[in-house]
Amino acid sequence: MKFVIALYAPPQAPSSRRTLRFAEALLAGGHEITRLFLYQDGIYNAASTQVVPQDEVDLSHEWRQFIQRHQLEGVVCIAAALRRGVLDVPEAQRHARTASCLAEGWTLSGLGQLHEAIQQADRLICFGGP
């Protein structure tokens, strides 16, 4: 089956780790991930600037590796990202901000990408909260 996975919680939330474990099991089970979509505080999973203590899980880093390993499409809602200060280089330039921190493998785009993926996939699963 084809799944779209939408994540609404930041990397520190247990649900974010749960999302990644679920995504791994999905692919291991022979299913497809149509798109990963980050919304609300989920956009922080796509930031490249967290500094996580060495004895803790660096979920943003794990997401980057997961996306690259499996050549997945990782989309970050641009409106949610901008208001939370996660910008890519073009947006940082456009808005005259001093830094961009969108991690490699992720793309800023609109909510239309979530709707498009919902139309294309067999299942939508959302993760968020604790």
Binding site: M1, F3, Y8, P14, S15, R18, R21, F22, E24, A25, L26, A28, G29, H31, R123, L124, I125, C126, F127, G128, G129, P130
Partner: protein
């Protein structure tokens, strides 16, 4: 069409558990994850509410969350699941509704 509902908030500090249960259809299922597994605590109102759900409603709990919290027991009708089981549930039920 059947729905797999997913909860992750504690039933004691948050209203999602109480709001979700009356909306479970007879063919639906409920997966407890994260702090929602505390609903399995014996001798509590949430535990009681789970036991009184229509028997056709399937109840599941994410095994890692139950074990991490070292919960002493859970109702016999609650099946503990791992991630591959979780994936299978999502395929089995027509839609997934996570109470974000």
């Amino acid at each position: 069409m059947s729905t797999l509902h997913i909860l992750s908030h504690s039933p004691f500090s948050d209203g999602r558990f109480s709001s979700c249960l009356p909306l479970l259809g007879d063919e639906d299922a409920l997966l407890l994850s994260g702090d929602a597994v505390y609903a399995l605590q014996p001798h509590t109102a949430p535990h009681q509410q789970l036991n009184t759900l229509t028997s056709s409603i399937a109840l599941f709990a994410l095994e890692e969350d139950v074990s991490a919290r070292h919960l002493p027991a859970w109702p016999a009708r609650v099946k503990l699941v791992d991630y591959p089981d979780f994936v299978a549930l999502c395929c089995h039920y027509d839609r997934v509704n996570t109470w974000l």
